[in-house]
Every structure is written in C-alpha cells, then in structure tokens.
Amino acid sequence: MIKILYTLLLFTVIILGNDKPTLTIYTYDAFAVSWGPGPKIKEAFEKEYDCNVKFVGMSSSIGALRKIQLEGKNTKADILLGLDTNIAQAANKTGLFAAHDLNTSSLDLPIDYTDDYFVPYDYSYVAFVYDENKLENPPLSFEALASMPEDFKIVIQDPRSSTPGLSLLLWVKEIYKDKAGAYWKKLSPHILTITKGWSEAYGLFLRGEADMVLSYTTSPAYHIIDENRTNFKSAHFKEGHYGQIEVAAMLKSSKNKDLAKKFLRFMHSETFADIIPTANWAYPVVTTKQGLPKAFETLTHPSKMILLEGKKVEAHRKEIINEWLKALER
C-alpha cells in the first residue's frame, strides 16, 4: 500500500515538475482532430507563449458544454471553444464562465456582436450542402425542400446538442414563425436521421447515405482546396441564410486565467485568422494581409445574415425545441 502511495506521489511530482503550464481547451471534434484547425493553432500558440495546449474534442460543442457542467468546478477545461451566439446565453446561466474584458467591437463581423463572457473567433452561414454529380436540381427554398420526392433524404443535427442544428431550428422559426411546427411536420419524412453533432452528419452524407446535409456555405471550400473536387455545393436559399458566429470563453475555475485570456486575444491575431479559412472552413473575424483563399470567391455568399439575438433565443429555446420534438412525433 505504501509503495502504491509512494508511486502515486512520484507521479504527481513528475507531473507538477513539468513547469510549462498546460492550457486545456474543450471543443467539438472537428476542431480538435488532426486534420482540423486544432493542431495548427496549438503549434502557433505554443511557439508564441511557451506553454502546452491540449484540445479535447467532444462529439459536439454543446456536448463539450455538458461535459463541463458534469465536471462542475473540477473541470480540467480552461477554455470552452465552439459554442455559438445562440447557445452562449444558456452557457452563461451556468455561472461557470469568467468575463474576458477584451474589446471586441472592432471585429470584422457581418453583424454587431459583443458579449462580456464570449469572444467570437469565426463565422459562417448555415446551409444545405449537396453533391452536384448526384443531385442536379437542388431545392432552393424551404418550400422546395419540403416538396422534394419522397425518397429525397437529408441529414440534420439535433438542436439540443449541435449548434448548426440549433441554427436550423431558429432559421425555420424566424421564417415560419408560428407555422414552424407545421413546416417540420411536412419536412420530417425527408429527414433520414438526426445526429448528435456535425461530424457524424457530414460523414453520413459523404458516405452517400443522404442527398443533402445541414452544414455551412463555406464547407465546399474544403472539397475544392483539400480534395480538388468542385462538385460539392451549398444550396442558396431564397429566404436568406442563418448565420453562425462561433465563440469561446474561459472558465471561472481555470487555474491558467492569464494564459487563457492570452489565447482569447490570440484568436484575433492574423496567425489565427489565416489558419481558420482552410482548417475550420469558415470566415475569420479579422482581415489579414494574406486575405481569403481564392476558392472562397466561388462560394455562395448570402447578402444578409439572419441572426436572432442571444437573449431572445434563450428565452424561447426550450419552447422552440419542444415544438420541434412534438412535430417530429409519429
């Protein structure tokens, strides 16, 4: 027994003896994976601030938030990265996050957004993505989408766990108002499955399980730049596109608050902004000398971003989700 304790003690000493601080960031899996932006950002930040960065990926960003709630004050996370403005208010209510006191008013966003706790780091527009070779006439509005032939299938994400899923829910709500429930009922035969997170849905789509997937207007850039394939497109909906501003915040319980704040500031550096377009496949929040890659010019760029105010979303989120759940009941 004493030997075991001794070994444990030794291990602790070894771990503590490593003097570089480690910044732990909880995020969604597509951000943390080896081909995502995580490793590149880790490398750049570690070089600049002489520390270790550890990205921990969950199946979805809201999943990452739930994990933090589950771990409570004992959480190892210093930063939660990957929520969007729709769910940030719900996260605030947990009281687990710390204010950042950065000035974010000069950021390059299509809509004004400032928050005491959450800092934006990129944005995009929610859209349905399809393969041009398999689908010649994609639906270009919500009405057209719901009126597709019966065997036309889409994959969407669960609004309770995934930010694009929640965005779609709010998008439909904003367009259909009190008829949103009826619309979901009409759409439901076309929903192949509802996944917990974006990766799973996109994976199903790429495997050919569905005709369209809920993703972003910027997703085709991945196929153009990384795979040299131009057959993936996002359908330009005439009703306009719901926006998604992704945000990060540091935790009250963090033991590395200074470093965490440096990271939040780093998200507005040119280095970070140059990594985002070709790794997270979204628009950065600062304009850089290098600018956006050429492929981004070929993407659909909605003229207007539909985005509900965070507080308003939070006040009605449960209600809207319940309406959705009810509409999908059979």
Partner: protein, 543 residues
C-alpha cells in the same frame, strides 16, 4: 432444524449477505433517484412522455412478437432437421447472439441493409435500382431486435423441442397426425411454459433497449424511454426530466419482472442430445424447414461477414497505435475480467445459499424457506428490471454530491452495472447446476463430514467447472460489449471499446470503425468459444 442451520452456516451466511447487499443497493438507488427528484425542479409531465412510453411499448411488443415467431419456426426447423452438415456450428453461432455486442450487430446490419449496404449495391448493380435508406427508424429497430432475440429464443426453444419424449412423436405418428396437428398437440403444449418466460424476457430486453435505438432510431420520433433518459442528461442536462423518465421506466420494468418472476433463460453450455426420430420428415416439409434454416442463417451470418470483410480492409497498424484505442482496449479488458470474476463469485454464493431452501436434506421444510428462496432469487433477478442507464443516473447523481475524480466514479459505476447486468443470466445457469450437484452428493458429503473447502475441491468444483467457465465467458462478453452506462460516463479520459467504436461511427472514420468492430467481434467470439473449453471437464459430461 437448528442443527441444520448450524451445519449450513458457511453456505447460508455469505449468500444471504450478498443477497441483502443487492437488495440494499437497489433500495439505495431508488432512494437516490426519489430524493433527487424532489430537490430538482420538476418539469411538467407533458404529452411527450406519454408518446415516448407509447412508442417504447409498441416497438417492444412488435419486436417480441416477431422474435418469438421467428424463434419458434427456426427452432422447429432445427429440431426436425438434426442431420445436416454444419448444424452444430450454426446452433453454436445462434447462441452466441446473446453475447454479441449490440453495437457490433448494428454495425453489421448497416453494412448489409444501409443505404450503401450490400443489398442496395447488389440491386444497383443488377437492376440499377437502390432501395434507398429504409433501415433507420422502426424498421431498423425491429430488424436488430429480431436478429438478437430470435436467435436467442430459437436456442432456448430448440432445447425444449429436443426434450419432448420420443414416445409422443411415435404416438403422433401412429395417429397419423399432419405436421400441423403434431405441432398443435405435441409440440405446442411442451413449448408453452418456456414460451411465456422467453417472451417476457425478450419484451423486457427490447423495452430497455438502448444502443440499437440510439444508433438506428435516428430521430426523436423513434426514441425509447432509455434513450430519452440519456438525451435528457447528455443533451439537455435536464436532470429533473431524466429522473422522471427513469422512475416511470423503473416502475414499468419492475412490474414486468414481477410478472416474469420465474426468469429462466434455458441456457446451457451442454450440447443438446440430438434426438433421432425413427423416420424422416415428408419431403415438402423438409424443404420448408431447410429453407427456413437457410434464410435465417443468411440473415444471421451476412452482417457478421460484412464486419469481417469491411474490417479486413482497415489499417490495423494505425488503429492499434492510437492512444485512445489502447486506453479503451485495456479499460475494456480489465473491466470485463474483474466484473466476470465478481459475477461468478456472487452467482455462486447466491446459488449456494438458495439451494439450502430447496433441498429436502437441507431446509426445504423449514418455516420460512419459501420466502427466503424467493428473496434470494428476487435479489439477483431484480437487476433485469433496472436498466444500466438508470443505474448510471444514480451513480451520476452520487458523483455530483460526493466529489471524487470522475474516473473513479465511472469505474465503480461500470463495474457495478456490468456485474449486476450479467447476474440474472449467471444465476439462471448456475442455480440449477448447483442444485443438481447438491441433490446428488449432499448425503455423501455430509456422511463423510467434509469441510466446506474439501467439499468444493472434491465435489463441487469438478462438476461445476464447465458451468463456471460458461458463466465466466458470458459475463466477460456482456461486460466487454456493453454500450449503456459508458454512454453517460464515456470521455477521452475514460473509454471502452464499444464507446470508442460508437465515437468512430459518429465521425467519418468508417474504415477505422470497421477495424475496431472486427477486433471487438473477434475478441467476443473467441472468448465465448475458447473460455468454456478451458473449463471443460470429463466428469460433468453426463450432467
């Protein structure tokens, strides 16, 4: 009588203690759930709960009906076709369905029936037509449930078919019964008692089905209570809702267990004695029977084949060098080893205590024997009613109150759930076997005045060896393949193979997932086949 009690104290006390512990734990669980419910602000009972319940019962009912029907026809066919090549292998494989990790089954089924599965690819190639995606939703849930439960049912029913005395068949023949009459008057009456307990067990398993519904349900409209509990915790962090659902689920499944109080799996590791009937079946009947067997074999084997073929293409070098894979692999193996040993020990203690109350030479005639017998059986079978996810919720609430690293709580939760989950099955195998050994050797053992240790070494162990090995293998596989409680506790720090596989299936790393599925399948099947062989004994052959 007192003398008897004194003599049997080493067999009464440990088992009794374990039994009390089990009951106590169940009580504690109820207590925690109930208590937390009051402190959590109660979300109102809305119509969603009602429709969840409706669907859960509906799919369980359909699944049971289909499984039992397929199980009967299959068992009937197998019973009358006892001499074709590969029969024992086939029967052996069917019985392995009990231990196949549900996630593996789902993975294999997607490989065959998915939008890009074999059937659609074949049909595209031949007819240039794809059936699209029909697997997600109720169809998928039913197919997977029938896959797992029909083979399980057929295995148990085959045993019943084969224990019908030959004389009855002879009588039927001499009365010139048609095949249908023979089934109606000879076979059905023999099946009836087994049928009820099998149907209720299958209903219970489908009622609490989790992994299958999680992956194949595909949308909130096809949720069962179990999945809704998981979602309430994991997606909404709505503990009040989870508690409410859990209490409803618990209430219903407890009721079901009480109804099917005589839980019997009719599982044996012993080879069925193939009864040779003195005549062959009429030709058309034979053809029907062979067709049924071939069809089900095809249905059963193709998903497994799909896993093997898809898995072969995976890059195993890359898979086994992933840290998360290594972590999950060792966690799974270690947890399965510990929990299978614990299961065997607890099952032995309980069965040992139980037989005191059912044997004439012991305490059968004592006043409270019946009650004690029921209490002990109940304490073991009770956990059939408590889905592991609800146990998980209990542990989760405890972990919120009593601070300890989450890994510690996760380990405890997983071990407990795994042991308690396999316990009913372990008991259903061990209790009859131990009853039998005691029946045979009690008088001898008592007259020789053997000590408890001597009794175990010379008498019990040699005869129980085979059953012990089987229980060990069964609970090892159960624990290895379970995707239940880990869904609540799983993370990068604490992961098991099924959870890792679920994560891979959820990302677009299909080929890695196929590789991991193959690894999991190989471990399960080899443990299930090899482990009982190691314990095979020469003495128990006639058992």
């Amino acid at each position: 009588m007192l003398q008897n009690v004194k003599r049997l104290k080493y067999s009464l006390l440990p088992g009794g203690f374990v039994s009390l512990l089990l009951l106590g734990f169940a009580f504690l669980l109820f207590f925690i759930l109930f208590l937390s419910q009051e402190s959590a602000n109660v979300t109102q009972l809305d119509s969603r709960i009602f429709s969840l319940l409706k669907f859960t019962l509906y799919q369980a009912f359909l699944s049971t009906l289909l499984s039992v029907f397929v199980g009967i026809t299959l068992a009937w066919s197998l019973a009358h076709q006892s001499h074709f090549k590969g029969r024992s292998l086939l029967v052996g494989l069917f019985s392995s369905s009990l231990v196949l990790p549900t996630l593996i089954v789902v993975f294999g089924l997607i490989g065959i029936y998915g939008r890009n599965g074999w059937i659609n690819q074949l049909s595209l190639y031949v007819f240039d037509h794809s059936f699209g995606s029909y697997l997600y939703g109720l169809t998928g849930i039913l197919v997977a449930h029938v896959y797992l439960n029909a083979s399980f049912a057929s295995r148990s029913l085959l045993h019943t078919f084969e224990s019908i005395p030959k004389e009855k068949y002879k009588l039927a023949k001499s009365l010139n019964f048609t095949t249908f009459q023979r089934f109606l008057y000879v076979e059905l009456p023999a099946l009836k008692p087994t049928l009820f307990s099998i149907a209720s067990t299958i209903f219970l398993l489908c009622f609490t089905s989790f992994a299958i519904v999680l992956v194949l349900g595909g949308s909130p409209s096809y949720n069962t209570l179990e999945v809704a509990i998981y979602e309430a915790v994991k997606l909404d962090f709505d503990i009040a809702m989870a508690l409410k659902l859990a209490l409803i689920q618990l209430g219903i499944s407890t009721l079901l267990v009480v109804f099917s109080s005589n839980f019997r799996t009719h599982l044996t590791n012993l080879k069925t004695s193939s009864v040779t009937l003195p005549w062959v079946e009429p030709k058309p009947i034979k053809q029907i029977q062979m067709a049924i067997i071939s069809l089900f074999a095809l249905f059963f084997l193709t998903p497994l084949l799909a896993i093997v073929i898809d898995g072969m293409g995976a890059d195993f070098g890359k898979i086994v060098s992933e840290t998360l894979f290594i972590k999950s692999f060792f966690t799974s193996i270690i947890l399965a080893t510990i929990s299978s040993i614990l299961t065997v020990v607890i099952a032995v203690l309980l069965s040992d205590a139980k037989r005191n109350f059912t044997l004439k030479e012991r305490l059968e005639n004592a006043k409270f024997s019946r009650i004690f017998n029921i209490i002990i059986s109940f304490s073991g079978n009770l956990y059939l009613a408590i889905p592991s996810l609800i146990m998980g919720l209990g542990f989760f609430l405890l972990s919120q109150t009593y601070e300890a690293p989450l890994v510690v709580w996760s380990t405890i939760a997983l071990l407990t759930a795994n042991v308690l989950m396999s316990l009913p099955f372990a008991l259903s195998i061990l209790a009859p076997a131990m009853q039998k050994t005691a029946q045979r050797y009690d008088k001898l053992v008592f007259s020789l005045n053997l000590t408890t240790l001597q009794r175990w070494v010379y008498c019990e162990y040699p005869y129980l060896k085979a059953s012990l090995g089987y229980v060990l293998a069964l609970s090892f596989c159960f624990s290895l393949g379970d995707l239940g409680i880990i869904a609540l506790f799983g993370s990068d720090d604490f992961s098991t193979l099924p959870w890792y596989l679920y994560q891979l299936m959820g990302s677009y790393r299909t080929s890695d997932a196929a590789g991991v599925a193959l690894i999991l399948l190989s471990i399960t099947l080899s443990v299930f086949i090899v482990l009982p062989k190691l314990f095979r004994s020469s003495v128990a052959k006639d058992n």
